[in-house]
Symmetry: C2
Subunit: 347 residues, 2 copies
């Protein structure tokens, strides 16, 4: 019988208890030769090279524990790193995760975080091969993803040339629309998103009202904000198709294509009519009186992929042509160069 | 002329300015095929495998900005990860670094941090191949190190067998002695350590008094606490010699050999008379009235290496035999099993 308190915290487990608990929830796939438990892990790098990308996520800046469950944070932190690997044209093989967590964090939250990492990795055949855990007053998640180019050249940002087309894989704008909905308070994370209810590891809290009929597109936008759905397979696909440039759309399409334009020394013209506005984005825009194209062009964190291809490459349906490359500089929409959009973490 | 303020901060540079500035200070060695500037880096993994280890360092827990300069933090953060790679028997090839930093951090501090990473990597022929930077109210450093086993098997913790000897490479106890000296207030980081004075990137502050004559061993202890000196080359050396187990001494020898004993299902007996107590440890113990062997046996963060070798292996001078492996369990000193020593981040 629980007399004084019923929540088991990471402080109760201690550092090695936390490590053992996390490791015990992480199956290792065939890309990992040596998983958690030693000074370092050992991961296959079949073609003699390894793609590596790292990100750091800070509570209150990249996620909020009252919006995102532990599971959501794990899925999102994994997704944004696996998407970076895909954006080189590579197949992810493994993650390693450094965690800073407060001692009063419920163990169920940590379990859910771990499961989120595990499940996102499973989408691409990768595993969490190792990590580190330490005490911190706020939750900090450092993620490093490794990947395999399968013998191909990496697809850099710099290869776009005049005459190439610009295409996008995955849906844009939903994450920004979801964030705007959460910010507005008009939509709360639904019970189905896993952000509420203690069993999935989130802090205990009242369940929000379920959005009424017709609310599904709004819920979808919020769900994508909490757990992005990158088109992982489209990265290696773009490489095989002969993409000249490839980038993960993490800061907003205009800003990320700005990197492609600068790196290639070219101009990019986008055709706003070429974008299919996702239903979730249209519905959120109607709800909040916003312009859906703003979110499509400048919304970050969807982790769609943007690429340039030589014009003669026949593109499969997974890639939607949205613009053209020419001589010059900058990213233009209807002939004008908008502000940078996206966001800059220090301004 | 500087009217309102003279310190340029990372907030003045903005996110992309910070990335460009850091990248510009980082030369890339031959192990890096594609360095900073794209979604991910590309690193050589010549034998088709890659060793990977990650750590997360939190300001106030792993370092203090009034004790450690940016350069110290970079050196130490790099060292502890490079040592983990060496502790598998591998040669480090690259680091990636995730940084959380406050907007009011002076750019000189960031420069010094970057230079610290660069210089520690240069000791082993590795490079900082990529990273991420975001805003955070305190300095958070996530480091991931990659390494090359050069075709050898990884040396795990689990291979110690009865009859093997236990040996140590590198000096033990100096970091703990240095921390105790800093905690006592009797020794402050010396000007030479780089922790004071704005030009090396630390926050402006008064210079501490220089320790008087005879203070050199104490300064050495403090310097090692701020910038550990792992015996990197001894990791691959141990692997070539046929070490059966190998571990980085990060939490204290007793605790880390406890992992080796548990993983191997063996008992380890240490001979306290076999340890050469470093002069710096002896001097600090005399200064503070402490037992120098406590720091040697339980002090963390020296990042020495501990290994088990079959008894017939002739060991070079870099390895000092300090104990024996037998049937049983636990780590024993003079026949007794001390408490775990070291420290556990959550208790």
């Amino acid at each position: 019988m629980c007399v004084r308190r019923c929540v088991i915290t990471v402080g109760d487990l201690g550092e090695f208890g936390v490590v053992a608990r996390v490791s015990g929830r992480l199956p290792q796939g065939e890309t990992v030769l040596l998983g958690p438990g030693d000074d370092a892990a050992l991961v296959r790098a079949p073609d003699g090279r390894v793609v590596v990308s790292t990100d750091i996520l800070i509570e209150g800046r990249h996620f909020r524990r009252h919006w995102s469950s532990g599971y959501d944070v794990g899925r999102k932190a994994a997704a944004q790193n696996l998407a970076d690997v895909a954006a080189m044209g590579a197949v992810p093989t493994a993650l390693v995760v450094g965690l800073g967590i407060p001692p009063d964090l419920p163990v169920t939250w940590l379990d859910a975080l771990t499961d989120g990492f595990r499940d996102e990795c499973a989408l691409v055949g990768a595993s969490v091969a190792g990590g580190d855990v330490t005490r911190c007053d706020l939750v900090v998640v450092g993620v490093t993803a490794l990947g395999d180019l399968q013998g191909r050249a990496p697809v850099e940002r710099s290869g776009a040339r005049p005459g190439h087309v610009v295409a996008v894989a995955g849906l844009l704008g939903r994450s920004a629309a979801g964030l705007a909905l959460l910010d507005s308070g008009r939509v709360l994370p639904s019970p189905g998103s896993g952000a509420y209810g203690g069993s999935d590891g989130s802090p205990a809290g009242p369940r929000p009202p379920v959005p009424g009929p017709g609310g599904d597109p709004l819920e979808e936008a919020v769900a994508v904000h909490l757990r992005p759905r990158p088109p992982y397979a489209c990265g290696p696909e773009a490489a095989r198709l002969g993409a000249s440039a490839l980038i993960d759309v993490s800061d907003g399409l205009l800003q990320d294509l700005g990197h492609v334009a600068r790196a290639g020394g070219v101009r990019i013209d986008l055709d706003p009519g070429a974008f299919a506005v996702p239903d979730a984005v249209a519905a959120a825009a109607a709800e909040l009186g916003a312009d859906p194209l703003d979110w499509v062009l400048t919304g970050g964190e969807d982790h769609a992929l943007a690429a340039a291809f030589p014009a003669e490459v026949p593109l499969p349906d997974s890639w939607q042509v949205v613009g053209r490359v020419s001589e010059g500089e900058g990213v233009h929409v209807r002939g004008r160069a908008p502000g940078p959009g996206g966001w800059d973490h220090f301004r």
